[in-house]
């Protein structure tokens, strides 16, 4: 927007960039030492305005023309202007990734951003949900995001400038597509074209009828040329053919392949124009590209915060003078609300690390002769164990004077080549002590269980967990003493596990597996539900399983209800039938109706939605109010239909919606005696 490419501006940025060259290189070295495998990252120095622009555009320099970027920019600007909100870091998922550093950041901030960015880039490159977007492409592993978005921007801009095309039509079409942005199949590998067969005869049949009409043949002749049986047979096939064969969650793809545009003049669906299909394709590709980020927000932010903290705090990547500044910043980021993805994610990662390390230690201890899960807490002195697990001094404190001590520690911990260079003075050990260590050495140096904040973790193990570990342990009398057992502890177990988890999980599975009772209780989380009787929300539970249930609802399927295409030839009239896969939480019907209107534009013919709603009649509410109880809602099947003119809603019998109801999930946390 405002490109002030004055020389002064450029020189200033170059100067900042020159100062940051070393931190950038060394952060990458450190990240790799720690086991991260990031995409290459290109760093840019930008000013405050440019940062706002990038944030508005979702981290890219060029996006298709649309008011929503304007909205985000407006917000960003006003927050900055009036709220003092400070933009910090932005990095995009691409290979190479591009990261943007604001020129006004302090050096400590810049270093923090850089370490943070390296971890994000590692996550982009290695989390398999990000792979969903790249794997289906011919040049696998290439994201080409910036190029793709730029291409989309240009194409859409061209459509908008085309005198043959009304700009407002293009805008509206984009909006229609965006209403279905989350109605994709984010668990499938992204492919440009959807592999769903259309009804073998439907299109043909319609075309055929049209062509016959066009020929203006008399019925007699028609009857002679095309025998009726043949036409009927075609029709019969349509009725029996299930289309789509399986419910299709990728609604965007389905309308792309089989939808039409609604033509106001003739009042019927006609073929989409090329630009319409093209835009649908682009919107769908972008939806898939951004899906992985939406699915892994907690993990990804937590991952970045975890490694940033490891590099900045534990490995003192920030100089002493910069550290206070950094610690202050970090505290602010993590303190902003307990459920922010940074702190939630980071705590969960630490929990994964600690539990894995604890399990490793316990497995060793349980193999000591005479120690079993029944007596472990009685016979083992955890303080002594922690003492033993402390990293050797030679690893904990590395200075030019202590380099010789490293010869005494385990071989696998030391990077001997670097050690030689350090001895020769080629490596600044004062600044970069980690250079003389290996991944194993660093894991030993930063072993989680002995860190001050985690010292109680080992002792906090409960009997259940001990039993679970102990019962399935073979070879349980391998060591004769605790010391002997501890000597075999694998110190990389925690980090190794982190890397595995970051590869395969998304937020839902991550929270499901690692969100603990401890975390929930410590942070005072509780659930609440709405009461029909009082018309208010009330606290329902602080039990961990309830909180988790509710949280998972917020993360599953982008926190949105699951909608799928059930029939593309509904009523045998090429109408669209969508089904809401009901998990016990009903749809916002007002929004659903509005969304149906948008889908109508993309389907060109009437659209239908089968759903289940909860109904409570007024009498029951009155009775419930008097008795201080909650009325029991009745689940009712509904068919919502939009035919281009009006939205109608009608009750349907239960057996028509039964297939949509899941009976194995329950997100309700209301206790039996709730309001009493």
């Amino acid at each position: 927007m405002s490109k002030r490419n004055s020389n002064a501006d450029r020189f200033r940025k170059q100067a900042i960039a020159a100062d940051l060259e070393e931190p950038v290189t060394e952060a990458r070295n450190l990240a790799q030492k720690l086991g991260l495998e990031p995409y290459p990252v290109k760093y840019w120095i930008i000013d405050y305005d440019e940062m706002n622009e990038l944030i508005a555009y979702g981290g890219f320099q060029s996006r298709y023309p649309h008011w929503r970027w304007g909205m985000q920019y407006d917000k960003q600007q006003k927050q900055g202007q009036y709220g003092g909100g400070k933009a910090f870091e932005i990095v995009n998922n691409d290979n190479p990734a591009h990261a943007f550093l604001q020129e006004s950041n302090t050096v400590a901030d810049q270093k923090a951003v850089i370490t943070h960015v390296e971890a994000h880039s590692d996550f982009f490159a290695n989390n398999e949900w990000f792979g969903m977007f790249t794997r289906g492409q011919s040049d696998e592993g290439q994201v080409n995001a910036a190029a793709m978005l730029e291409r989309h921007a240009r194409a859409i801009d061209e459509y908008m400038s085309d005198p043959e095309i009304d700009r407002a039509d293009v805008e509206k079409w984009i909006d229609h597509c965006l209403s279905l942005e989350d109605n994709i199949d984010q668990h499938q590998i992204f492919t440009r074209r959807l592999d769903v067969d259309g009804p073998a005869g439907a299109e043909l049949d319609e075309d055929l009828a049209e062509k016959l009409d066009e020929l203006e043949l008399s019925d007699e002749i028609k009857g002679e040329v095309f025998n009726e049986e043949w036409i009927e047979k075609l029709e019969d096939e349509d009725i029996t053919a299930n289309f789509p064969e399986q419910p299709q969650k990728d609604v965007l793809a389905f309308v792309r392949e089989h939808g039409k545009q609604y033509d106001e003049e003739t009042g019927r669906g006609v073929e989409m124009t090329e630009w319409q299909r093209d835009i649908l394709d682009m919107m769908r590709a972008e939806a898939y590209y951004f899906a992985a980020q939406k699915m892994t927000k907690v993990m990804n932010e937590g991952w970045a915060a975890y490694w940033e903290s490891t590099m900045m705090t534990d490995e003192t990547f920030a100089g002493d003078d910069e550290f206070l500044n950094y610690a202050d910043h970090m505290a602010k980021v993590l303190a902003s609300g307990g459920l922010n993805p940074y702190s939630l994610g980071m705590e969960l990662w630490e929990y994964v690390e600690n539990t894995t390390n604890r399990r490793e230690v316990l497995e060793r201890l349980l193999r000591v002769e005479g120690i079993s899960w029944r007596n472990l807490t009685d016979v083992v002195d955890f303080d002594e164990v922690l003492e033993t697990l402390e990293p050797p001094t030679a690893l904990a404190t590395i200075t030019p004077d202590t380099l010789d001590d490293l010869t005494a520690v385990r071989n696998e911990w030391v990077d001997h080549e670097s050690l030689e260079r350090a001895r020769a003075g080629e490596i600044d050990v004062e600044a970069y002590p980690w250079k003389v260590l290996t991944y194993e050495g660093l894991a030993r140096r930063h072993y989680s269980l002995v860190k001050r904040q985690n010292r109680g973790f080992l002792a906090r193990v409960n009997q259940n967990e001990l039993e679970r570990i102990g019962r399935y342990l073979f070879d349980d009398a391998r060591y004769s003493s605790v010391d002997e057992a501890l000597a075999d502890v694998d110190f990389t177990a925690g980090w190794d596990r982190l890397f595995d988890v970051r590869e395969s999980h998304n937020d839902v599975t991550f929270l499901d597996e690692f969100l603990t009772q401890e975390f929930i209780t410590e942070n005072n989380y509780f659930t609440y539900e709405h009461s029909q009787a009082t018309g208010q929300f009330h606290v329902t539970s602080d039990a961990a399983e309830d909180v988790k249930k509710k949280l998972l609802l917020q993360f599953t399927n982008f926190g949105k209800p699951t909608i799928a295409v059930y029939d593309g030839n509904y009523n045998n009239a090429n109408e669209l039938l969508l089904g809401h896969q009901y998990n016990g939480v009903m749809l916002n019907l007002g929004q659903a109706k509005e969304t149906l209107k948008r889908i109508f534009e993309l389907w060109g013919r009437p659209v239908n939605l089968l759903t289940i709603v909860k109904e409570v009649d007024d009498h029951d509410i009155e009775v419930a109010k008097r008795r201080n109880r909650e009325p029991e809602p009745k689940e009712q099947g509904k068919l919502i239909r939009y035919d281009g003119q009006t939205v109608t809603t009608e009750d349907v019998p239960w057996d028509e919606v039964e297939h949509l109801a899941a009976d194995d999930i329950d997100y309700d946390t209301k206790p039996d005696e709730w309001l009493a």
Partner: protein
């Protein structure tokens, strides 16, 4: 292409263009974060999509110290677009979704001025200091360097124009047979010519005898001699002489500006009687709050008086003002009586006064005509405004606003009546009220 374009498009969304999106714009609640700061809800447009019913979905909260007890209420969800159409009765989103940005009242007033095209120029009242302004005032004495020569020339020229007359014509007149100087003078006076008797006598005496009796009558001169007006004459002859006069001399000197402090006292009156239900109450807050901010932003010194009333009136603090509910009937005059009393502290000579009242137009019989209107006329103010909030259209006996309008007329300078039936009317009402005050200043 580019962000500036996108921003432009966004501003137009729901307005001039893309009205189809108007329903999806949320403005959230008005809030106030601290003294001198205003939280303006950010305009957010969300496209419709399949989502859960927020009520049925429930949620996760976080307690401050420990978790709250089961059954404890956790606050009301915020209203959402589409809520108030009543058609679907759609539940709203839970709180905390709205985003704000902060600005101070001055910025707010500027934005509103720009947005609504207002031009309210606050009147200064109390003089707090005098200071030298630019050299725009003039005095009759002063150093030569400050003599305003241009002005003097213009004044001289004006004087000349005023004094000059068609001498040739008058001379011809003097040649009329048997005419006396007196008769010429009287004719000239009749024509508004700036000529003196002395000049005519002199001109008469100068006429050579052979030319006397050249014309038979004044009419004959008028018929045959072309008259020339002063402008033509100056154009023909040029200005040979501009009569500079001492009395035209002006010397520039700096203007003394009386820096007046712009004081404003805003009286907010609200009907809190039983008929003022939640929705009406909310509409009052939505209308009053920006008005208060606006005036606060416009004036140096703003004081607020809050009066709640049913059949009686009492002064309250702002915190309570919008929350109070009482049971009783309604007598609007009670509030004006109290306002009159409280305004004594803010003399009209020193204070700009705004008296805003709001309610559902219900009043006890004859109170409006017999008491309220006389009181409104009695209390001097820049503006009296009444805001009627009737979310469900009109009630039969709700005639207060109507009566005011009938009495004061719709284009009164200092009385505004506005109707707010839904959130959408708020901006119009604010405009109606503030533009009425704008006219007073013309």
């Amino acid at each position: 292409m580019g962000l500036r374009d996108d921003l432009e498009r966004f501003r137009e969304v729901g307005e001039q263009r893309r009205e189809d999106l108007a329903d999806f714009i949320q403005y959230g609640e008005l809030g106030r974060s601290g003294p001198g700061e205003i939280n303006i809800p950010v305009k957010i447009v969300s496209l419709p999509e399949f989502e859960y019913d927020q009520r049925d979905k429930g949620g996760v909260g976080q307690g401050e110290d420990g978790t709250p007890d089961t059954g404890q209420p956790v606050g009301q969800p915020q209203p959402q677009p589409g809520d108030d159409d009543g058609e679907d009765g759609e539940p709203g989103e839970e709180g905390g979704e709205h985003e704000y940005y902060e600005m101070d009242p001055e910025e707010f007033a500027e934005e509103l001025d720009e947005e609504l095209g207002l031009d309210l120029d606050p009147k200064g009242k109390t003089v707090v200091e005098e200071k030298e302004g630019p050299f725009t005032d003039l005095t009759r004495t002063g150093p030569n360097s400050t003599l305003d020569f241009e002005r003097m020339f213009k004044e001289g020229l004006k004087r000349k124009l005023a004094m000059d007359f068609d001498e040739e014509f008058l001379r011809e007149l003097c040649k009329v047979e048997d005419i006396s100087p007196r008769e010429v003078f009287e004719w000239a006076r009749g024509e508004n010519l700036p000529v003196s008797m002395a000049w005519i006598e002199e001109a008469y005496a100068d006429i050579p005898d052979e030319e006397r009796g050249k014309w038979a009558s004044i009419e004959a001169v008028e018929d045959h001699v072309e008259r020339e007006d002063v402008q033509q004459k100056i154009r023909r002859e040029g200005i040979d002489h501009v009569p500079f006069r001492r009395e035209d001399e002006r010397y520039r000197h700096p203007e003394i500006i009386e820096e007046k402090e712009k004081n404003v006292v805003v009286v907010n009156i609200r009907d809190v009687s039983g008929s003022m239900r939640e929705k009406k109450r909310e509409l009052v807050e939505r209308t009053f709050t920006p008005l208060d901010w606006y005036l606060q932003g416009k004036y140096d010194n703003a004081e607020f008086v809050y009066i709640a009333h049913d059949a009686d009136a009492w002064a309250v603090e702002r915190d309570e003002f919008f929350g109070i509910r009482s049971g009783g009937g309604t007598k609007i005059s009670s509030a004006y009586e109290l306002a009159n009393e409280l305004l004594e502290e803010y003399p009209w000579s020193d204070w700009n006064r705004y008296v805003f009242a709001a309610g559902d137009s219900e009043n006890s019989s004859n109170d409006t005509s017999e008491r309220v209107i006389p009181l409104m006329e009695e209390i001097p103010a820049n503006l009296h405004a009444y805001v009627e909030t009737q979310p469900s259209g009109n009630a039969i006996n709700a005639t207060h606003a109507e009566e005011l309008e009938r009495h004061f007329g719709t284009d009164a300078d200092d009385v505004a009546v506005a109707y707010v039936n839904s959130k959408d009317d708020v901006t119009d009402a604010i405009y109606e009220i503030l533009s009425t005050e704008g006219e007073t200043n013309e």
